[in-house]
C-alpha cells in the first residue's frame, strides 16, 4: 500500500467540519475588542494577538499534517506554497498567492485578497497602529516552528489601513537541525 498522496486544500476543506464564517469573524472581533479594553495600548494588543496565534499554531500544525497528508517540504519555496494553497484553504476557506521572492529564496510574501477575519470591521482613528489580523502571523510562526523553521512574519500591507490587499512577509531565519535530545551521561 503506497502512502496516500497529499490532498489539495479544497479536498480537505470540503471534508472538515465548518462553522459559519460570520460567527468566526464576530468571535475574533470580540477577542480583539476585549484585548483593546484590557490592555489599552495598541502595541500590547498586537503582541498579545501574536502570542495567542503562536499558541494556536503549535497545535494547529498537527491537525494540518494529519488531515492534509502533506509530507516534509524539500525547501522553503514548497513550504510557502503549501501554506498558501493548502493551509489557508483548509482553515480559512481562502487561497493566498505567493509573490516577491528575494534572490536567496528565504523570504516571500503571502498575499490575501480576501480575508474572512475582517468582515464587518472598520478601524477607528484611535487604533491606527493595530494589526487587526496579527493572530495570523502568530499562527504561521508557531506552526512553522514546529516543523523546524524559525521565521519572522510581519504585515506589509493591510486593507484596513487603506491598502488594496493583505500582504504578509514571511522571512526564514533559520532551519533547526534535529539534534539528539539526551546527553551521553544520563
Amino acid at each position: 500500500m503506497a502512502p496516500l498522496p497529499p490532498r489539495s486544500g479544497d479536498a480537505v476543506f470540503a471534508n472538515v467540519e465548518h462553522v459559519n464564517a460570520e460567527l468566526f469573524s464576530l468571535t475574533y472581533g470580540a477577542i480583539v475588542r476585549q484585548l483593546l479594553t484590557d490592555l489599552e495600548e495598541v502595541d500590547e494588543v498586537n503582541k498579545q494577538l501574536d502570542q495567542m496565534g503562536y499558541n494556536i499554531g503549535i497545535r494547529l500544525i498537527d491537525e494540518f499534517l494529519a488531515k492534509s497528508n502533506v509530507s516534509r517540504c524539500a525547501d522553503f519555496r514548497e513550504t510557502a506554497d503549501v501554506i498558501a494553497k493548502v493551509g489557508f484553504k483548509m482553515f480559512l476557506g481562502v487561497t493566498a498567492s505567493v509573490a516577491n521572492w528575494d534572490t536567496e529564496g528565504t523570504s516571500c510574501s503571502l498575499i490575501l485578497e480576501d480575508n474572512p477575519l475582517v468582515d464587518f470591521v472598520e478601524l477607528p482613528d484611535t487604533c491606527q497602529g493595530l494589526y487587526y489580523c496579527n493572530i495570523l502571523s502568530g499562527v504561521i510562526r508557531g506552526a512553522l516552528e514546529m516543523v523546524s523553521m524559525k521565521t519572522e512574519v510581519t504585515w506589509v500591507r493591510d486593507m484596513l489601513h487603506g491598502d488594496d490587499v493583505y500582504e504578509l512577509r514571511v522571512k526564514l531565519l533559520k532551519q533547526v537541525p534535529e539534534e539528539y535530545p539526551y546527553k551521553d551521561d544520563d
Binding site: L4, R59, I61, D62, E63, L65, C73, S148
Partner: protein, 177 residues
C-alpha cells in the same frame, strides 16, 4: 522419531514460529506496545497490551527506543543510494533531508514507525506477520490530534493523560490484524 517429527514440521514452515507468549494475530488483539514521542524525545505515551518480558525500567526503555529510532533515521539517510547530498553518519539532519523508514521485522515481532514532519513519532509493535500498518499509524495520529492536541487542558510536550484518547486507542488497536 515421533519427537523429531514435530520439530521438522515446524522448520518446514517459511515464517518462523512465534515464541510462546506472543500474540497470535487471531486473538483479536494483535498490538503489543505503542510509544508516542515528541520531537524532544519526551515519551508522551506508552501503552502496553501484551508484553510478557520486560528487562529495563520504563525510563530507560523509552530512551533506548527513542535512541534506536533516532539512529535508524540517520542510518537510513546515510545509506540512501538515491541522494548525493549527505553528511557523515550522525550529522544532524535538516528538515526535509534524508529518507524515512516505516517498519522492520524480527522473527518475534514487527515494529512499525511513523514520524510526522512536526516530529511526533509513533511506534507500534505487533505480531511479526502483521501487514502494512502505515494507514493504522496515520489513524492513530488522527486520534492524537482529535483527543490530545485539540484538548485545551493538554499542555503540549507533557505526557498524555486522556482517558478518552486511551479508550479510543484501545478500541482501534483491537481491530488491527
Amino acid at each position: 522419531m515421533q519427537f523429531f517429527g514435530g520439530s521438522a514440521a515446524a522448520e518446514a514452515s517459511p515464517a518462523p514460529a512465534a515464541p510462546p507468549g506472543t500474540a497470535t494475530g487471531l486473538a483479536g488483539n494483535n498490538a503489543n506496545v505503542l510509544y508516542v514521542f515528541n520531537r524532544n524525545g519526551v515519551c508522551l505515551l506508552y501503552r502496553e497490551w501484551h508484553r510478557p518480558l520486560r528487562t529495563l525500567d520504563a525510563a530507560q526503555d523509552h530512551k533506548l527506543m527513542f535512541g534506536l529510532l533516532f539512529s535508524l533515521r540517520s542510518f537510513t539517510a546515510k545509506m540512501d543510494p538515491t541522494s548525493v547530498e549527505k553528511g557523515n553518519l550522525g550529522v544532524p539532519l535538516l528538515p526535509g533531508q534524508g529518507c524515512s523508514f516505516h517498519s522492520f521485522r524480527t522473527n518475534t515481532y514487527k515494529l512499525s514507525f511513523m514520524e510526522s514532519p512536526s516530529g511526533i513519532k509513533l511506534i507500534l509493535v505487533t505480531h511479526p506477520k502483521t501487514s502494512d500498518l502505515r494507514e493504522a499509524l496515520r489513524y492513530i495520529y488522527n486520534l492524537y490530534v482529535e483527543y490530545v492536541v485539540k484538548n485545551p487542558l493538554y499542555v503540549p510536550g507533557t505526557p498524555i493523560k486522556s482517558e478518552l484518547f486511551n479508550t479510543n486507542l484501545d478500541q482501534y488497536v483491537k481491530t488491527l490484524i
